[in-house]
Structures are given as C-alpha cells and as structure tokens.
Subunit: 374 residues, 2 copies
C-alpha cells in the first residue's frame, strides 16, 4: 500500500507574532495535491494537529475544513493521532462517527492496542500519552517512563501481529539519537525520556511525529515527517515535506513542500543589509532573522531594517557587541565612577576608545547630570 506521512501541523501557531494561517493553508494544499497525484491509500498525521490544547475558534474551523476536504471530499482514508500539543478530549470529539468514512482518529492510549485492519496492513495508532495514563490502563505503578511503557505496548501489539500483513506504527515521541529544532516542546518533563530506536525494529514502518525536522532521524524503517511549515529560525535551512511510504516492498520518497514565505537567517553589517545590491534577489516578504555584525550603536535599528524587511522575526548582534557587559558584576559597577563606566560601555560596544572631544563632552554631560540630581 501507499501512504502519505505528515505530522506537526500546529494549526494556530504564530512565528514571533506573525500569523501562519496562509503558510499553513499553502502547505495543506500541496499535501492534498501530492496525496491525489500519488494516489495514496491514506494519509497519516502523526500528532500535533493543533498548536494549543485550547485552539481558537478560527483554528477549529481551519482544521475541521482540512479534515473534511481530505476525508469527505477527496475520499482519502485518514490515520490520525493526537500529539502533546493537542487536547486529546477536544481533538477526539466525533471520532466514533469518523470511522464510517475511514477516518481513524486515536486520542486515548487504550486505542493503541486495536490496530486498524486493512487488507494487507495493520496500523497501530498510538496517541501521545503521559505515563500516568499507562499506569492507569495497565494497573502497573512501575510504568514511570516512556521506554518501559512503549516496551510493554509494543509487546502487546506484536501479540496481535497478523504474520502476512505489514505493520505500521504511528506515534508521537522523541526517539533517542534524533536531533532537535528550537520549535518542539521538550517531552522530557514529567518523567518522559526518549525511547530507543531498537524498540521500533519489528515494524515495517514507523511514522513519527513531534520533531519538526524530517532529517532528525533516518532509520531504515522509521522517519519523522517534520512539520509542513517552518516554525522557528533554527528551521531556516530545513527542507520541509512529506513522506510517500510504499509498504511492499518498503520504499520511502520525500516530497518537498514549497514555503509561501520562507524563513532566512541574514548575517551582515547594517549598511550591507540595507543596500539594494544585497537584497534585490531576496523575497522581501519572507521571514528574516537578522544578526548584525556592527559594533557601534545604530539608532532606530529595527524600524530602519523593517523598511526593507517587513517580516523580521528576530534581531541580534553578533557576540562582540553584547558579551563584555556581561562580564562586569553589579558589585563592580557600583564601585566605579560614572566616567569610567561610560568609557567602558563605549569601548565594549564599539571596540574603540572615546576620542578626546567625546571625553570632554562626557565629562560636561556627567557634571550637568550630577548638578541636576542635587
């Protein structure tokens, strides 16, 4: 069979204050087109459909529309789990009815043990869960981490393996050895630790969600799809996309997705960044994280950069500009006289000393300030 594997849609997410609705719709339309062109037998969405457990009304309307489009319009079977960003209860609403059109949505751990039975494939949908859910379900107080719980779960799954069928696992967790981006929420809080890759070896394919970079893990039989949209500056260089998974024989093909507005890291001095020769090849409506290499102060720096780059998602100086001030303690600052401090700050910020004229101005200004205090 042939599946499309995606995950981490994070509907409702913002990128440093910028709305990502249009980006997400643009990615969704490509995913739909790929699914139809590749004539897949179903779409796997491995968790984090919403960005928040309490999505806005608009996010609810958006996701509802996407799921309707794929399942009711395009008649594509859907295999979906809730992720750590979803509220299992809210996302799970209606799931008992969805199965009538082959839309399988698992949000409760107990459902993980009942595979979806296709002619030649069994799909185990394991929603994201907290260890206490496993302790409750299995009445076993020793289940304190993900590794031991998944070991138990997978043992129980394997007891249900129909030998001649292919076995697909859909899950949302961190597999040890994977590399992270900045935009995933840590799952290690609350006793959860990464699970080891060898646990996954008995499945023909493991469709993973949680990490936003498809390159985070490349096992022969296990992949993250990554998110369809870039959610942080650290993802600037990542290629977003979805996997087309042929099961017999196993063949994995990565289908890249175009970004409506891409995310870039720009590093350079202020003058260069504002010169037309530098930016004339850029799509200026893209999202930019800017690191300035300048050492001197620049008045209204953000406003002036925004005249060229309206969608700036971060602005930093390369390390030289800020580092030195961190090396002075509060106690040291209090012991120094104002002129020494001012001289030091100027030196830290610009890597050069006050000129004699600047020094005179500084003395005059400080004297004036002190008189005003008295």
């Amino acid at each position: 069979m042939r599946f499309l594997h995606t995950a981490d849609w994070h509907i409702g997410r913002r990128l440093h204050g910028f709305d990502l609705r249009e980006e997400q719709q643009f990615a969704f339309q490509q995913i739909e087109q790929i699914a139809l062109q590749e004539k897949v037998d179903g779409i796997i969405v491995a968790g984090d459909l919403y960005d928040r457990s309490l999505p806005s009304e608009e996010s609810v309307a958006t996701l509802n529309q996407m799921l309707r489009q794929l399942n009711l319009q395009d008649k594509l079977p859907l295999y979906v789990i809730s992720g750590n960003h979803d509220s299992a209860t809210r996302l799970g609403t209606g799931q008992e009815w969805y199965t009538t059109t082959q839309f399988y949505l698992h949000t409760d751990l107990q459902q993980a043990l009942t595979p979806i039975e296709l002619t030649d494939t069994q799909i185990f949908l394991v929603p994201y869960f907290e260890p206490f859910a496993a302790r409750q379900l299995f009445k076993d107080d020793s289940l304190h981490n993900l590794q031991s719980t998944m070991h138990l779960l997978i043992t129980k799954m394997k007891q249900q393996f129909v030998p001649h069928k292919k076995h697909i696992l859909v899950a949302h967790f961190f597999v040890s050895g994977s590399t992270k981006s900045d935009s995933e929420t840590a799952l290690t809080i609350g006793g959860l630790a990464p699970i080891s890759a060898d646990l996954l070896q008995d499945f023909d394919y493991v469709a993973l969600g949680h990490l936003h970079n498809e390159a985070a893990l490349h096992l022969p039989n296990a992949r993250y799809s990554g998110s369809p949209v870039k959610f942080s500056l650290s993802e600037a260089e990542q290629q977003k996309g979805v996997w087309i998974v042929d099961t017999d024989p196993l063949q994995l093909t990565f289908k890249p997705l175009k970004m409506l507005h891409d995310v870039h890291q720009l590093i350079g001095d202020f003058e260069t960044l504002l010169s037309e020769s530098f930016y004339h090849n850029l799509n200026l409506q893209d999202f930019f994280g800017i690191t300035l290499t300048d050492k001197q102060p620049i008045p209204n720096v953000l406003a002036r950069l925004r005249e060229i780059y309206p969608n700036i998602i971060s602005l930093e100086r390369s390390q030289n500009y800020l580092m030195p001030t961190k090396q002075i303690t509060d106690a040291q600052i209090r012991q120094r006289d104002p002129l020494t401090l001012l001289t030091q700050v100027y030196q830290d910020a610009t890597d050069s000393n006050l000129t004699e004229q600047q020094r005179k101005w500084a003395i005059k200004a400080l004297k004036q300030a002190q008189n005003e205090v008295k």
Copy 2:
C-alpha cells in the same frame, strides 16, 4: 411520529459556585429513560448544550459521552441546534459525519433552510444566529432584527413545505409574551428583539430553547422545554421536564424530571431555621436560598446556617434590615457625632433603641476608641 423535546442543558454550568455535574447527569439519565420507554422516533435538543462558548475539557467529555450514548448506543436520531451559549464552530465539529447515524446538528444559519426529511415530517433546525449572519447570508442589509429575519427565513421554509408532511421548527430565541427566569442571558443585546408568536403559526410544532421555564409560553403548537436542571433561585418553584410530542394528531405530554438536589427558597427568622422541627423534613443536601426576617445583627450568620444547610446559594435579609441606612447620605453621616450614629445604626438594624446599659457601654467604648486614636 413521536419526539422528545428538550433544550438548555448548559453542560458546565455552576449554581452560585456549586458544581452541577451530578445534577446534569441525573437529569440526562432520566431523559434517556423517558426516550426509550416512550419509544420516541428522535430527540430534539433546542440549543445551549454547553454553558460557555469555550467549554472545559471535562464539559466536552461529558457532552460527547451523552451524545454518543443517545445516538450510538441507544440508536436514537438526534435533532440538535446550537444556542446563544454555544460556540457554533466548536459545537459543530464533526457534524458532517454525524448524519450517517441520523444525528443532525445544525450550527450555521444556512443549514436552517434545508429541512431534515423524514417519511411524514420535515424538521427545520434553525441554530441561534446574530443578525449580521442573516445579512451576510441573504445579502440584505435591512435585516437588523430577529423578527424581520425570521419572517424571511420562515417564508423561505414554507416554500419548501411538502404539503402532506408535518412541519417542525426547532429554534432558540425569545418569543414575545413569554415569561423569563433569572438564569437566561438576555438576547435583546445587539439588535435582537423578541419575535412574535404569529410568525410560528404555520408549523405543526415549534420546539423552542432559550427560556428555562417550560411554563414561559404555552401556545397550541409551540413550547419551551425548559432546562432539565434548576439554574437559579428564581427557578425554585418550576417543574422541570421534557415534552413528548406526538405529531399526528398533535399531542403534547409533559414528562417531569426529578432533581437530584432540589432548589428551595427558605424565608424565616434565624432561630426557626436552625430548629430541628423546621428542617427535619427537608433534604439538607438540597440547594437553599435563605431570606432571614430577623432585624438584629447575627454574628457568623452564614457559617452557622451552613452547619445545617451546607449548600446555601444565597443569603439575604428581608428589606427592613437594610433599608434605613440607605436613607442617610454621606454628608449627613460626617456631620453627626459617633454616639448618635451608633444609636441610629442600632435602631435601623433592630427597630429598637439602645437600653440605658447599652448606651453606657457605647459611651465608654467610644471614649476608649478616641483615646487610642490620640
């Protein structure tokens, strides 16, 4: 055909801080039993399934379970609309799939014009809507109130009437001439006005939601079901229940619901209310609104009443206790000496004068207080 008509479940509602979950579950179980015993052809829920547009996870789980129970377990067709307390978008999630099991949930005004077609009945489900939704749908900026919009809607519905069928309207609004309780949110905000009863005359039955008292309106062909649970002290004397609606010929039978914990208004003096002979016939776990007729101050009055009545939802004095103090202005108060004021307050609160001994104590206490200020 035979329907059960209920409305205004308000899942998630609290009664002066007290959780109503158990009350609502208790009422739900009775509704289910009545539906099964009466062998109804479907259940109508005329809006306000949730109490808030953003229900808690627990409320979502509760309502989901109720709807599953009725539709998937009991195989009862459901005819449901959203009310002014529901978020149409959130409640509407999944509705396209629900119809496969005859669960008809309308949350969008446009859906009102497409009746649910049964063998001998047409059911028009009109979700609660704001006038701007009607202006958008009909591209008619003159639709500024409910009356004109409903007139237009009903005209369009009548064009679709199949003559030999019965016609049922399900709606959530205030029909003029109805009487209100304290627990409904006013619908007159934002340009909505009550609609007149004569608009409803062409329907065989109009199943209304919004008002919590079934007795609010008794037209031959139109009823409120009222809420299944008492949501305010003003509903203490109401009989809660559901309607069994036989359509051919029209016959309306009110089926009362028992309260798990009833709501009562108690009026009496403190001593009487705390005497066993007064309360021994009461269910002390019920909810009580208490009005004390005493005129003198009673220390720790609420705590002492709660020893007998743990679920007090309001505590008031009958008017005599508080009225007189309101008649003194701030300016008057400032002009009087402390002893005069104290005498006046005592007189207002108890309707009697200070005794000579009390007066001596008061003078002594005031002198002491003044010395401490100096």
